[in-house]
Symmetry: C2
C-alpha cells in the first residue's frame, strides 16, 4: 500500500524563544548545529519510505514561504495551510482529506516537524512495522517511546503486553502527564511508553474514526475535501476550518477509539521540548557547558550559552541558559525553562510584538 506522510509544522516554538520567533519558529531552525533545519531533517529521515510528492506539510500561511524555501523539491500543492490553529485533530483531518482524495486509501504517517531522532534506520524500521499493523484492518498505530526516566512532561501510553499484533502491543489507554510518583510507578511497571505524537494509519481508518468520534468536524472536513481543486477551495476551507473546535487527536480520537496499537521505539528520540534539550543533543565541554559564539566563561558549569558575534562573559554561573540574538537576550535558570512562555505573555501585554 502506498505510503504518504503528513508533517505538522504549524507550531510557534515558543519554548525556544528568543531564537525561535513567530516568523521563524523552531521547526525552521537548525538546533543540532549541522546546518539542516528540523523540518528538513524530518523530511530527509522518511525519504526511504515515502516519495517527496507524497509528503504533505500542514502549516499556516505565515510559514508557506519558509516551507517552500526549506523544502525546494516539494510540490507546492502539498503545503496545506490552516486558516487558524485548531490543535491536531482538525490538522490531521485536513491532511487525511487531501491525501485520501489524491492517493485514495493510502498509509499515512503523521509526524511532528520539530523532533530529533538519532537512529534513523531504527526509526524507519519502526515505521515499516507500524505500517504493517496499520495496513491489517482498521488499526490506529502510534509510536511510543521507551521511557528512560520518570518524566512528568509527557503523556504516557499504557499497553497490554499480552496482546500483540506483529511487533505492536495493544494500547489499553492514553494517560495525561502524571505526577512524579505516578511516573515512577509507570517506569517500574514496564507497561508504559511516552506518547510521541507520531501516528500511522490508513486514510480510510482515520477518516472513519473522525466520523465516529468527531462527527461535526468530519462533516466540515468532507465539505473541505469536496471543494479541493475547485474555485471554492479557499473560501470553504476558511469557513469550515474556523468553525472547528480546537481539539487534539489524542483527546478527540485516540482516548476513545478501539484497535489502537503501539510500537515501542528506541530510536534516540528527542522532542527538543525546551532549551534544556540542547544539553542532550549538542556536545557539552568538560564543564558540562554547551557554548556557541564569542563567549568567555569563568567558573561556569552545566550552562547553555548560545551567542553570536557579541561577547558574552559569564562568571560563577551554574545551570543557566543564555540565548543572545540581535534584538533580545534571554537569561534563564534551567529549572525555570518552562516559564519562558511567561516572557512572551509579558511582551504581549506590553505590546512589544516585535520581540515575539
Amino acid at each position: 500500500m502506498k505510503k504518504t506522510a503528513l508533517i505538522m509544522a504549524g507550531g510557534r516554538g515558543e519554548r525556544f524563544w528568543p531564537q525561535s520567533r513567530m516568523d521563524m519558529p523552531k521547526q525552521f531552525l537548525s538546533l543540532t548545529g549541522d546546518g539542516k533545519t528540523m523540518i528538513q531533517l524530518t523530511v530527509e529521515r522518511i525519504r526511504t519510505l515515502v516519495e517527496l510528492e507524497d509528503i504533505f506539510i500542514a502549516t499556516n500561511e505565515n510559514y508557506r514561504e519558509l516551507v517552500k524555501a526549506q523544502l525546494p523539491g516539494l510540490p507546492e500543492e502539498n503545503i496545506l495551510c490552516e486558516p487558524i490553529g485548531r490543535n491536531t485533530a482538525p490538522c490531521i483531518g485536513l491532511g487525511a482529506e487531501h491525501i485520501f482524495r489524491r492517493c485514495g486509501d493510502a498509509l499515512m504517517l503523521v509526524l511532528p516537524s520539530d523532533h530529533l531522532i538519532k537512529y534513523n534506520s531504527i526509526f524507519c524500521q519502526a515505521l515499516e512495522d507500524a505500517c504493517a499493523v496499520a495496513e491489517r484492518g482498521e488499526n490506529l498505530v502510534t509510536l511510543g517511546i521507551t521511557p528512560n526516566n520518570p518524566d512528568t512532561g509527557y503523556g504516557y501510553i499504557k499497553f497490554d503486553p499480552s496482546q500483540t499484533l506483529d511487533r505492536a502491543f495493544r494500547v489499553e489507554r492514553f494517560v495525561e502527564k502524571p505526577d512524579l510518583e505516578t511516573a515512577k510507578s509507570y517506569l517500574a511497571s514496564h507497561e508504559y511508553l511516552w506518547n510521541s505524537g507520531m501516528f500511522i494509519w490508513r486514510t480510510s481508518t482515520i477518516l472513519a474514526n473522525l466520523k465516529r468520534y468527531l462527527p461535526d468536524m468530519y462533516e466540515g472536513l468532507e465539505r473541505i475535501g469536496e471543494a479541493i481543486g475547485t474555485p471554492e477551495q479557499e473560501p470553504v476551507l476558511e469557513r469550515e476550518f474556523r468553525a472547528f473546535k480546537s481539539v487534539s487527536i489524542d483527546y478527540g480520537v485516540m482516548e476513545k477509539a478501539e484497535n489502537i496499537y503501539c510500537l515501542a521505539g528506541n530510536f534516540g528520540w528527542d522532542d527538543v521540548g525546551s532549551w534544556l534539550a540542547v544539553s542532550r543533543i549538542r556536545k557539552t565541554n568538560e564543564f558540562g557547558n554547551v557554548v556557541n559564539g564569542n563567549v568567555v566563561t569563568i567558573d561556569t558549569k552545566r550552562s547553555i550559552i548560545q551567542g553570536g558575534d557579541k561577547l558574552i562573559a559569564t562568571v560563577g554561573l551554574r545551570d543557566i541558559i543564555i540565548v543572545d540574538t540581535d534584538d533580545a537576550i534571554l537569561i534563564c535558570d534551567k529549572d525555570s525553562a518552562g516559564d519562558i512562555k511567561k516572557v512572551l505573555e509579558n511582551l504581549r501585554i506590553c505590546n512589544k510584538y516585535q520581540y515575539l
Copy 2:
C-alpha cells in the same frame, strides 16, 4: 590656611567591566543614575571648601581629554598626568610637589575620584575637622569609616580612643584586610575604622614624611618639582616617574609614620568597589532587583540588570548581575563579582583588546 585638593583619577575600574572600559573607566561614568559622573560628583562635593583653581586631578594621558570634557572649568595645568601607574605614593608625591610649588604650605585633601558620599554636608564638616587637626603641627589625618558590618574587603585603622586631638583620634596602626573572625572582633571592639583612602595634611607634612620614609622617591619628586614650568618638565617627569617603585601611600608612609590621626566618618560613604554596590546605591524594586533599560523579569530576585535598548529577559534568576553594552554582555553570580577581573585576564590572553 589655603585648602587644596588632589583627586586621584587614574584607575581603570576593572571591577565595573563591561560598562567601565580602559578608555572610559568607572570615575568617568554615572553609576548613580543622576547623570553626573563620579569625578564630577567628587569635585562638586568639595567646592564649598576648595576653589576650582586649587583642585588638582592626578590621572594619566589616556584620560586627559575625559577630565577636560567632564570638568570644563578646571585649569588645564591642574591635570597632572602620570607617565605610568605606580600606585598611590608617587601619585600623591607628584600632587604634593605641584601644589607646594604653586600654593606653598597649603592644606591638601587627597581624595579618590570614584567613591560615593550620600551626606555631603557631613562629609565637608569632617574634612573641615580634619583640616583643623592637619593644620596644627605635622599631623597626617585620614578619614576612617565607621564599619557597619565585618567586611573583609577593606583595610582597617586601629585608633586609640583615649588619645584625641580636637575631634580626631590618634591612630595606633593600619591593618590589612582581615579574615571574617578578625573583622568581627574589630567591629565588636568599636576601636577600628575602615580605611577609606582619604587623607588630609599640609603639603610640607607629606613631603617631609616622603623624605623620611621613601627618600629615593622623594629625591626624584624634588627633581620633578624643580622642572615644573621649565622646558624640561615633561622629560624629567617621564624619566623620574618611571624609575619610581610601585608603592601605596598606606604601605610606604602611613604604616610607618607618627602623628597619624583619624576622624570617624558617618557620611554615607561607599567605595562602589564592584557591581554589588549598585544594589546599595540604586533603588531596588519590590523583588530586590535594580533594573535599567529594556528589561522583562520573570521570577527574578535580588539581581542587578543594567541594559539599554536591547531586550533583556530574565527567568528564575537569583542574585545575578547582568550588564549589557554594545559589544559585550556580562552575566555574573553576585558571589563571584570579584572574579570579573578573570574575564579581563582571559581577554588579554586571547588578544581581544577591543573589549578591555
